[in-house]
């Protein structure tokens, strides 16, 4: 479709009773200072005088990720009005077809494709998949960053656990000399690590939810879009908590095992 260049000129009210009504998106309304009832001039070519139209409605932008960062404005006109403006004649770019039921989609597509000439019927779902290529890339990127972050976190966790457990080497040595078994000591450390991991997970989930809210609020205002950029779902929470528990407990276990395998006197530095 050709880009409809809309030249907007706010005109004084004239006797234009035959002026058609159009709908504009809220971003255009805000940027151009337009309201319902205002008269504007529409043309397909920049600089042409065009036709008068009245703003009949202001539309909320859809939560369409494809529109993010694009500075386009959206205008809705009657089909015949746009065809006339563009000089298209009786031409459209596409039809949107609603079927009576989900089961009827396939049949409808097959019948249209076998009966019609010059166009092809596509399922909306298939188009959505094809046009989501950009977001598939972004998803993969985020996933890669996530994996790297997890690996980094695992190393940090192990390092810090090792340090903190090592700090108590003398206490552990004293316990061993008293006759407390290595297994009991490991259990104790793992219990502590579990408690820290559980508490850390709760704090982490709360922090993540807050950050997600901040991200949405910020980017929705920057891109002026109702798209939800970040969504915290049950699956995501479950994955995060599971990972942090597993990593935290594993780090504690590894650190404790290392300590109990060292002879107690060596832990005292003798």
């Amino acid at each position: 479709m050709n880009v409809v260049t809309i030249s907007l000129a706010l005109l004084l009210a004239t006797s234009q009773d035959s002026a058609r009504r159009i709908a504009i998106d809220e971003r255009l309304a805000a940027d151009a200072g337009l309201r319902v009832g205002d008269r504007v001039s529409l043309s397909a070519t920049p600089g042409d005088s065009g036709r008068i139209a009245i703003i009949g409605a202001i539309l909320r932008r859809s939560a369409d990720p494809a529109e993010i960062a694009r500075g386009e404005y959206r205008v809705r006109l009657h089909l015949t009005e746009l065809q006339s403006l563009l000089g298209y004649g009786d031409r459209v770019d596409r039809f949107a077809v609603g079927t009576t039921s989900a089961q009827a989609i396939g049949d409808a597509a097959t019948r249209i494709n076998s009966a019609a000439f010059g166009f092809h019927a596509h399922r909306s779902r298939d188009i959505a998949v094809q046009t989501s290529a950009t977001f598939a890339v972004v998803s993969r990127f985020h996933r890669a960053i996530g994996v790297i972050t997890i690996v980094a976190s695992a190393i940090f966790l192990l390092c810090i656990m090792l340090l903190k457990v090592d700090e108590r080497r003398r206490d552990v040595a004293a316990l061993r000399l008293m006759g407390i078994s290595g297994r009991t000591i490991v259990k104790g450390v793992v219990l502590e690590a579990t408690a820290i991991a559980v508490f850390g997970s709760i704090v982490g989930v709360a922090f993540g939810a807050l950050t997600s809210w901040i991200v949405n609020a910020y980017y929705q205002s920057v891109y002026r879009s109702p798209v939800r950029f970040s969504i915290v779902t049950g699956d995501v929470v479950l994955l995060a908590v599971s990972l942090s528990l597993v990593l935290g407990i594993a780090a504690g276990w590894l650190a404790a095992r290392r300590l109990v395998r060292t002879p107690p006197l060596m832990l005292f530095g003798r």
């Binding site: 880009v3 010059g118 950009t134 090792l162 980017y219």
Partner: protein
């Protein structure tokens, strides 16, 4: 002596030191990647835009180059006016479209650029020659592979294709005279360039002579912004975009990645800082008696601090080459993911390595490591000696 003591302390707890170095290396890698990401796209795009020497780009009003199917009607008249200006050295008009080429595996659709071979700025010839006749084309390897052709072969192509009727419109027989690498096309995107007049004729636009884009090379010492403003005033139906303006648009569209880079970079720095602080604090707490004795036998406070900070710095130093290597490897991997963005030119790197990036990242980490070590070491060196020794004796 300072270095001897620092090295000895680090080697005394090998596992701990190795893990800490690894942790710092991962921080360094992440930080390097984020520094590369924050500047890479912009620098990469800038050199791409300037690679062919055109400073201004003219596109239909309200659009960015090739953002839409919009064209500038009667583009040739604008080209003629521009060519007549002393300030303009050359103008390259480009018309976008598609060519559909039947092949054994079905009809292949390829991006098509209508150009003027003598002034084009869209591709680099890697074999053959420029088109010199109306029916001659150059194609990239992706297209040649898809249609199973090579240099000097002919192809039957159309500017339009009706998939229902399986028929071509605007058909011609064209000869492949050159192999090209298209500067602004994505990898694996099939591309062909042919004389603009030929493409117009195939599209049925021989009369209105549209162009999608005009690239303008200015004469030496011209003020780009002044020319840009002048051309926009003169030609009201177009946008005139300078490289700076194009970069600004790219920045806006890709601002997410810069912000992500800043946030993740900051997080890496903080995590590295915390790791070093924790390590130094634990290490110092274990040696509090030793530190008190060092002070008791006359070692100055600043030297105790210097020794501990030297340990932290040594870890940073050891982690740096590892972090650099890891960073470059992960950057390459992440770049390969982002390179698959639809429509992103093959030559664009999201993660661009510049020595400055490495110095920035490693410098930041080194400073944060030193700062992380200063407080716990100063604190331990400032403890009252007698009290500390007594507590150590009791403990």
């Amino acid at each position: 002596m300072l270095l001897t003591l620092a090295a000895a302390s680090l080697l005394r707890h090998r596992a701990r030191t190795i893990l800490a170095v690894l942790g710092v290396a991962v921080s360094a890698a992440m930080l390097l990647d984020m520094v590369m990401l924050s500047s890479g796209m912009r620098e990469s795009f800038r050199s791409l835009l300037l690679s062919q020497g055109f400073q201004l780009r003219i596109s239909p009003k309200g659009t960015m180059p090739f953002d839409t199917d919009a064209t500038i009607r009667d583009g040739d008249s604008i080209v003629t006016i521009l060519q007549g200006m002393n300030e303009v050295k050359s103008v390259s008009p480009v018309l976008g479209g598609q060519l559909h080429i039947p092949s054994a595996s079905g009809t292949i659709a390829s991006s098509a650029l209508g150009i003027i071979p003598s002034v084009e700025g869209d591709y680099e010839l890697v074999g053959g020659r420029q088109p010199s006749a109306p029916d001659e084309i150059v194609a990239n390897d992706a297209l040649l592979r898809a249609i199973g052709r090579s240099l000097n072969d002919t192809v039957h192509a159309g500017a339009g294709y009706d998939s229902q009727l399986r028929s071509l419109t605007g058909e011609r027989v064209l000869r492949i005279v050159g192999r090209a690498r298209f500067v602004y096309m994505a990898s694996e995107q099939k591309g062909v360039a042919l004389p603009i007049a030929t493409l117009r004729a195939m599209q049925g636009h021989a009369v209105d002579k549209p162009v999608s884009l005009m690239m303008v090379r200015l004469a030496p010492d011209q003020d780009i912004e002044v020319m840009r403003a002048r051309l926009e005033r003169q030609f009201r139906k177009v946008n005139v975009i300078s490289t700076a303006e194009a970069l600004k648009q790219v920045d806006e569209r890709l601002s997410y990645f810069r912000q992500l880079a800043a946030i993740l970079g900051a997080v890496s720095l903080v995590v590295g800082f915390l790791l070093v602080t924790t390590l130094v604090t634990v290490s110092v707490n274990e040696r509090i008696g030793e530190i008190a004795v060092m002070r008791a036998i006359g070692v100055r406070r600043w030297r105790v601090v210097a020794q501990i900070v030297t340990e932290a710095s040594a870890m940073m130093l050891a982690a740096s080459p590892l972090g650099l290597m890891l960073g470059l490897v992960t950057a390459r991997y992440l770049n390969s993911i982002l390179a698959r963005f639809p429509g992103v030119p093959e030559r664009i790197d999201f993660f661009l390595f510049q020595p400055r990036s490495a110095w920035t990242a490693l410098g930041l980490l080194a400073v944060s490591g030193v700062l992380a070590a200063v407080y716990p070491s100063w604190r331990s060196a400032s403890l009252p000696i007698a009290t500390t020794l007594r507590q150590e004796a009791v403990g």
